[in-house]
Symmetry: C2
Subunit: 105 residues, 2 copies
């Protein structure tokens, strides 16, 4: 089992709406995440829009992302979320993996 | 059980040494963390020295920090780590809590 940390950025002027949408993530999206190995998955936000993600998975962030990229529901969710990021990319293409340098069970 | 996300900053010019020290955290420090409710605790780093911490605890970041602040070993560890942060404070006094806005078990 691998613990993954990653970050990306959301537009601070649209943060309230972005967080609101995450109170009702589509059930099919949640099911796709579970099926592709996103376990104990949390997203945290700093007031300026910096997002930190944490989850546990069998293999790696790259593998979990590749599996999600193949899901049609993910395409639709990322499109739905794209107004909240500044990049010319789908939000999940802006994830930057962080290095775990310490762990205590 | 509460999931906690927090961040702080380490001097990028001393990051290699900082990470090295975390390969051999003192056993007494690890024991103190366990005793004061820091479970499944991971620290992640971005190349510029931004640190993201994640752990699970019974109550809150504030409670877990207060319990650690009462441990003599923590005083010594924070002193040992203080050259790596820019602040005029112990590193653990610079933790900024983040808001969890999404979770999937």
């Amino acid at each position: 089992m691998k613990r993954v940390g990653f970050q990306f950025k959301v537009r601070p002027d649209r943060l309230a709406e972005y967080k609101e949408r995450h109170k009702q993530v589509w059930p099919e999206m949640l099911e796709a995440l579970r099926e592709t190995g996103w376990h104990n998955y949390s997203l945290f936000v700093r007031p300026d829009g910096l997002i930190f993600g944490y989850f546990e998975t069998d293999e790696s962030l790259a593998a979990a992302q590749a599996k999600m990229a193949a899901k049609e529901i993910n395409m639709r969710w990322q499109e739905f979320m794209s107004p909240f990021v500044d990049a010319q990319a789908r939000p999940d293409e802006t994830f930057v993996e962080l290095e775990e340098y310490f762990h205590l069970d």
